[in-house]
Symmetry: C2
Subunit: 349 residues, 2 copies
Amino acid sequence: MNSKSHITLSDIAKKLNVSKVTVSKALRGHPDISKETTKRVKKTAEELGYTPNFAARNLSSRKSNTIGVVVPKIAHFFFSAIIESVYDTAFVNNYDIALTVSQENAERERKHVETLLAMGVDGIVVSVSQQTKDKAIFEKVLDRGVPLVFMDRVMEIKGTSHVTVDDRGGAFNATEQAIKNGYRRIAHFGGYKEINIGKNRYAGFADAMKQYGVPIDPELVIYGGFGESYGYEGFMKLYHKGKLPEFIFTVTYPVALGVYAAVAEVGMKIPDDIDIICFGNSNISRFIKPEMSFVNQQTELIGKTAIELVLEHIRDSDEFKPKHVQIPTELVLRETCVKNKRVDAPVSF
Amino acid sequence: MNSKSHITLSDIAKKLNVSKVTVSKALRGHPDISKETTKRVKKTAEELGYTPNFAARNLSSRKSNTIGVVVPKIAHFFFSAIIESVYDTAFVNNYDIALTVSQENAERERKHVETLLAMGVDGIVVSVSQQTKDKAIFEKVLDRGVPLVFMDRVMEIKGTSHVTVDDRGGAFNATEQAIKNGYRRIAHFGGYKEINIGKNRYAGFADAMKQYGVPIDPELVIYGGFGESYGYEGFMKLYHKGKLPEFIFTVTYPVALGVYAAVAEVGMKIPDDIDIICFGNSNISRFIKPEMSFVNQQTELIGKTAIELVLEHIRDSDEFKPKHVQIPTELVLRETCVKNKRVDAPVSF
DNA sequence: GTGAAAGCGCTAACAG
DNA sequence: CTGTTAGCGCTTTCAC
C-alpha cells in the first residue's frame, strides 16, 4: 500500500447517500438489499475503482477465504502437478491459496504453518517434508480449530483427513505385471523407507513377490532418495557389483529416469537387456523413449480431493468427520514391462 | 478461524501488567523496550501459545509483508524453478509470497492481480500470460502505488521494472555455434512470435544467420507453441514434406524434447542424422541421452532478481527508479551441436 | 429493506 | 523506557 488514497466503502456510501452497511451487503450480494440498490452500488464501486480491503474484511469476519498449503518442493513434476490442481480447484470454489514450500525442511515447515495460522487461513493442506517427525505444530492447528488435511505424505494424527494414493495396491500391480512377464530377479529402488510412500510401495512389492513365490534378494532392494540421481547411482552400484537384476521397479518416475541414463551409459538397452516399470509419471514421459510403463497416481485428483476435503470440513465444521480418501491407481502399459522374458519357457499362474 | 478463543496481545499484557503497546513493540523487537521486558514478553507469548493476527497487523500498519506473484503456469520446469527461487529469496528476506496462477488466461490473470491488490500486498511480480494484451490492470497497480516487476514475459509500461533474459544474445550464440559446426540448413522452432521471448530469440537467430551470410529458409521457421507437442509436430511436418534441415534450434527445452521423440519415432539419430540445440534447460536434461547442449537462462537468478527488485522498490519507494535487468545467458555444450558437420570441408570464419 | 453502534486485534503518534 | 488515545476498513448484531 502507499500514499494514494484508497476508495473505501464509505466513499461509495456517501456518493449514493446510503450507509456503509448497505454498500457492504450489496457488494457481497446479500439478499437483504434490493436488486435496485445492489445494482447501483456495484455500478459506482466499479466507476470509482473500488478495491476491497481483505485485511479489514478478514479481521471483522474472522474468515480469510484462503486455504493454506505446505508442500516440500515445487520444481518436481509430482508436486507441481498437484499444486496446479490445488489452485484450479480453489479457483472454481472462489477460494484463495496461500502456498508455502518447506524445501524438505521440518523447521521451515513449522514456520510456514505458524505463518498460515497467523494469516488466519480457513483450512490447511500439508504434504510433509522428508524430515518431519514432530507432530506438535499440527496439533496446534487442530487446537485452533482449523481443518487440516494431509496429502500424499501424511502424519497419523487424529482429527485430520488424509488423501493418499493406493501405494500398496499400485506397487503390487506393477510387480505382478513384471512377474507375469516371466521376470524373477526383480529389484526395487525404494526411495526412503521412513516415509509412508516408501514403506507402502515396498509393501506392495513384497506382497506380489510373496504371493507368486518369488524370493526377494535383499541386495536388490535399494534405498537412497526419490530423485534421478538415486536411480542412476543405484543402477551403477549393482552394475559394478555384477549383480544386475532382470527387472527394476522404481518408487518414482525420476528414479527410473536415472536408471535410463545409467543404462544408456553402460551401453545396455531398455527393455531388452534390462526392463523397468515405475510408480508415478511425468509430463514428459511421452517423449522419452522407450516410453515407460508406469503406475498412474492421478495427481490432478489428489490436489482436487484435498481441497474439496478441507472445504467440506470448513463449511461443515461441526458435523464433519475426518476422512481418509485413497486415490486408486491405474497400471498404464507403454513400451516397457510388456514382453515375456522367457519365450522359450512361458510361465503361467 | 474457529470457536477456540485466541490469545491476543491484551492477554499477554494483562498477565504481565503492562500495556498492549509494550507487548506489541517487544514482540517486534522494537528498541524502545528494555531487554528485560522484551524477554519476559516473548517468554509468556511462547507459553500462552500466542499467534499474531496478520489481518489486524496489516490493517493497522497498512503493510502486509507479502509480495504477490502471478505466473502463467506451474507444472513446467522453467516456471517451477523460478517460483522455487522466488520463495527462497522471499524467505531469507522475511517476506511472504502470495502466488497465483493464470493458466495462460488473461482474464484470470486480471482477477488475480485484483485479489493481490485487495490483499494489500506490498509489491507484485508478474510473468504475463500468452494472451495478455490489455495493460489496464497493471496501470491500476501503479496507480495504487504498488511496485510492479515483470519477469521474463514483460509488458512495456512506464514505471515498472523488468527482469528478462538476454534472449537475443543467447539465441545468437546458439545459432552461431551451429553455423561454426558447418551447418547451413538450420531450422528454428520459435514458439509464439507474439511474445517477447519468441520475438527476441528469433531475432538472435536471424542476427547470426545474417552475420555469417547463411540464408534463412522461411519454411524452416516454425511457430506453434512452447510445449513438447509443438516440437514433435514441427519435426513431423518437415519430415513428411521431405524438407528436413540439418539442424534445429528450438525456443525451449520442451520443444526440443518433442523433437527428440519424433526423431526416435522415424528411426533417425541425434546428433548424427539431425542435430539440435535449445534455449533453456530442464532438471531432467542430464538424464536424457544424448544430453542436449543448451542456452542456460539461470532460472534461479531470474526469480531472485525479481524479488530483490521489488523489495528494493518497496523499501525505497520514493527514491527508486525502475530498472531493466537483463540476465546473461551461458552457452552450455553437452553432446549435441558439438561436432563439425563437414569434416571433409571444414569451414572457417 | 436499511442503518447505527460496536468492535475485530493490532500499530502509529504522541505524551509522559 | 512505557502508556494513552485513536483508528485502520470492514462486518456483525440488532433495532427500525
